[in-house]
């Protein structure tokens, strides 16, 4: 179970304590071997894929792995996942999909696999660092920023809203400002829903600025990366995730 194979490898030998910890926590209750865990975490990704465990540590009750996969036309993806069992949290440290394969739902399908695995092993939240297009996409998946990221995002949002007052209208702008100023991190969903077209500052166009939805201009051009989490114990958040995944499944049929 803990030896290198064709689909799973271990960067460091797994010591006796780690083996016993794995058996107690994952194999006996859930029938999950390290290979089975990797399969569960990436179950929708097509073969070939290879999981490499960076460590399995009984003392800290944690493990970390990276899975690499190939897609058609020499495209590829990889994803880091680490579990802190004491904190009951999976960390989706990094998911990368090569540029030509982006926008096809690979990253969100992998996140869906992670959500399912968390449900199996009863992890309570998923944490991540939202970067690049993920700054917008993970907000639409149900993630909310941590307190520190929200404090910065809120400041950036107020500036962006006031800069777009001529487009949004004075009354709506004032309402958005109040709600975001008074709201907690879940108010990221308010920002992510403002779709009024505003000029992009970055998209390459020759003669006139590209008009893009406010929310996307904000997350991709006007605020930075953020840290956040998906609360798997929050019913509203899980309804959001389930609904999105159902829509994707219906669309794929």
């Amino acid at each position: 179970m803990f030896d290198d194979g064709n689909r799973v490898r271990f960067t460091r030998p797994v010591d006796d304590a780690a083996r016993q910890w794995w058996i107690d926590k994952f194999y006996q209750p859930f029938d999950l071997t390290p290979e089975g865990m990797a399969d569960s975490l990436m179950k929708t990704a097509p073969e070939p894929k290879l999981a490499v465990y960076e460590f399995i540590d009984a003392r800290s009750e944690s493990f970390s792995l990276r899975v690499d996969g190939k897609l058609a036309d020499q495209e590829f993806w990889y994803a880091h996942r680490s579990l802190d069992l004491r904190g009951a949290a999976f960390n989706a440290e990094g998911t990368f999909v090569s540029e030509n394969a982006q926008g096809k739902g690979v990253g969100t399908a992998l996140m869906g696999d992670l959500v399912d695995t968390c449900r199996i092993i009863k992890a309570e939240k998923i944490t991540l660092h939202a970067e690049r297009t993920g700054r917008y996409a993970w907000a639409k998946f149900g993630f909310v920023p941590d307190a520190s990221s929200w404090a910065q995002m809120k400041r950036d949002a107020l500036v962006a809203l006031l800069s777009s007052e001529s487009t949004l209208g004075r009354d709506r702008t004032n309402d958005f400002v109040r709600r975001i100023n008074d709201g907690g991190p879940e108010a990221i969903r308010i920002i992510a829903s403002i779709d009024d077209p505003v000029p992009s500052r970055q998209l390459p166009r020759r003669f006139e600025p590209e008009m893009v939805p406010f929310a996307r201009a904000f997350f991709l051009e006007q605020t930075g990366d953020w840290y956040g989490s998906l609360n798997l114990r929050d019913d509203a958040t899980m309804k959001l995730v389930d609904s999105y995944r159902q829509t994707k499944k219906d669309g794929d049929r």
């Binding site: 982006q102 309402d175 109040r178 390459p204 051009e221």
Partner: protein, 70 residues
């Protein structure tokens, strides 16, 4: 003039749009009723009212199920 402009090599600055640059309005993530409900919930939790939500997001407020009282 236009031909020359179009033929010229133009160096654009880098951006963070990734694949979205090709289609900046493509739908991403949750949409529909569940998303509208989550946004409405965030709005009300931040102290907003049903009326102000309807003015801010008329498209969401128009959804039938959102008109029910909490």
């Amino acid at each position: 003039m236009m031909d020359r402009l179009q033929a010229a090599s133009v160096k654009y600055p880098p951006h963070d749009w990734g694949a979205l640059a090709q289609n900046p309005t493509v739908e991403i993530g949750a949409t529909g009723e569940a998303w509208a409900l989550a946004v409405r919930d965030a709005w009300l939790r931040s102290g907003g009212t049903e009326e102000s939500f309807e003015l801010a997001f008329p498209a969401y407020a128009a959804r039938r199920d959102l008109s029910h009282p909490r």
